[in-house]
């Protein structure tokens, strides 16, 4: 059989998933990874740990140092792709080099949204989307006292925690009425907010950073929408991300919010696939196509794409929104829907005496979402129940009493799981 040259633009979860899937089918097809970032593949969700120095570059590595060599991958790191040509089947790199492909995977991830602050200066303002961002922010933080984090999502709150660890006075400014609104429900996000506040982080909601003040180019303070002034040596922009899909858009690929892909992660162009944060693929619960910028989803999509590129079988079952967060020692998890939509019901229970909370969302008898704070030990059982789509009405009685375990499942279902 003719060998296929697989070219992957990107070097994160989706790219690595694709490499591993291709290699499971073909040991000899040449694979090239192109990435603007110079680092070995690293775990992006852990960069707040890099910021505060709890992990170093080695500690955030996603795969062993010999990964590319062991997998037979030519890694063009620190080389930016500037254009793709689906007609000629090649990728143009910065500097003009042209890399031809038989199969192309776009796994270019997401980029931070930068709010317009009408700021002419530089310095003191940073995003937290890459290892380089994290290291630079960490260096700047060691000479700073006041930090403002714009955005109270997962990235913003982890940034706040990391900066707090470095001894800074941290204020989080969130546009929505509560922090972590896209990852957790109100019950969970209130407990997490309280945990952060008790640790010393100030949280301001229903507000946003609209301008910055500098004195001889040095950041002095930020101004909020309601005209509040907050002192700031550092401003971290964490208001959200969007697919980094410029290459695909310029090449005319079908796009919505991200690059539209089918159940095998193929784009509208022949021999071009997309996976990870840049792709808009199937959502397990809604059956619609949705951008789900989550690490495990990216890895799973990358595997589906890699399998398809190497000629293997299998389709994507759809991604499920899921989050695991530990904030100032308090753990929280969520999966699927965060609250009941029309025709659905939810059952929630909060411990009165300590930060422990659990909730499930049911659509008829089917489990479609779950949230837990404090006791998260066997949370994956709920994730499994969503994916398996067995009747889950029994959860209505369990949730008010305790965290669900396998013994609460109907007998037959449990036997299936445990006896084999």
């Amino acid at each position: 059989m003719r060998q296929l040259h697989h070219v992957i633009v990107g070097n994160s979860a989706a790219a690595i998933g694709a490499v591993e899937a291709i290699r499971a089918i073909s040991g000899s097809d040449p694979i090239t990874i192109i990435s603007a970032e110079p680092q070995h593949c690293y775990c992006r969700p852990l960069i707040p740990e890099l910021l505060c120095g709890r992990l170093d570059g080695e500690g955030t590595c996603y795969r062993p140092a010999d990964f590319y060599q062991a997998q037979g991958v030519r890694a063009l790191l620190g080389r930016a792709a500037v254009a793709i040509d689906p007609e000629l089947r090649g990728v143009t790199l910065e500097g003009g080099d042209f890399v031809p492909y038989d199969c192309l995977l776009l796994a270019t991830g997401s980029q931070p949204i930068i709010p317009d602050l009408a700021d002419q200066g530089s310095g003191g303002i940073s995003t937290l989307n890459s290892a380089a961002d994290a290291l630079a922010l960490g260096r700047a933080a060691r000479q700073a006292r006041w930090a403002v984090v714009a955005g109270g999502g997962l990235v913003g709150m982890k940034a706040a925690e990391a900066l707090h660890r470095l001894g800074l006075q941290v204020t989080v400014v969130e546009l929505a009425p509560r922090i972590l609104a896209s990852a957790f429900d109100l019950g969970a996000s209130s407990l997490l907010a309280r945990q952060a506040q008790e640790a010393g982080v100030r949280i301001i909601t229903d507000n946003s950073v609209v301008a910055v003040q500098r004195r001889s180019h040095v950041l002095q303070s930020v101004r909020l929408a309601d005209s509040t002034e907050l002192p700031a040596d550092l401003l971290v922009l964490a208001v959200g991300v969007r697919p980094q899909a410029d290459l695909a858009a310029a090449a005319g690929l079908a796009m919505d919010r991200g690059i539209l892909v089918d159940s095998r992660m193929q784009t509208s162009a022949p021999a071009v696939w997309a996976a990870g944060d840049v792709a808009q693929g199937l959502d397990f619960l809604s059956g619609e196509r949705r951008v789900l910028p989550l690490w495990p989803v990216a890895h799973a999509q990358g595997r589906v794409a890699g399998t398809a590129m190497a000629g293997g079988p299998g389709a994507y079952a759809g991604g499920l929104s899921m989050n695991s967060l530990t904030l100032f020692g308090l753990s929280a998890m969520s999966v699927g829907r965060l609250g009941a939509e029309a025709g659905e019901t939810e059952v929630a229970y909060a411990e009165p005496s300590r930060p422990a909370y659990r909730k499930v969302v049911l659509s008829g008898e089917r489990l479609v979402g779950a949230v837990a704070v404090g006791e998260v030990d066997r949370f994956g059982i709920l994730t499994g129940l969503i994916l398996e789509q067995h009747p889950c009405g029994f959860l209505r009685d369990i949730i008010p009493r305790q965290s669900p375990g396998l013994l609460h499942l109907p007998h037959k279902q449990r036997e299936e799981k445990l006896k084999k």
Partner: protein
Amino acid sequence: MPAIAADEEYCMGCRLCEIACMAQRSGISDLAKALRPGRPRPQPGTRVETEGVRAVSISCRHCQQAPCLLACLTGAMQRTQDGRVVVDRDRCAGCGTCVLVCPYGAVAISPERKVASKCDLCPGWEQPACVAACPNRALRVVEESP
């Protein structure tokens, strides 16, 4: 790949499996010494769930398509040459993603080390400590993991 299967009909909820696992992990063969009060106890890789009179001991099934392994943020969750799913504790960041996806609830974050902790099938032993310790044969080794 072998895995441990649990028969709840035979489980008495005595928790000897948990104790045997903790002792095994402590590296001390004398059970009384291993579990002496005051000595830190390792997180057991199996956990007995109880509900009324029913009980069952649940540990990692070493799934063939292991969700924990696929979802792991750091690559700490790995498959060994002989097919077991194990945690490289030096590479684990304790993010909990494995806990979030394990349909058996068989991975925990160890309270003292803040890293993922689970059954490793007791490599190098004739049979896993929990299976050997079970007085009622509620745990057994099966040849094919799910």
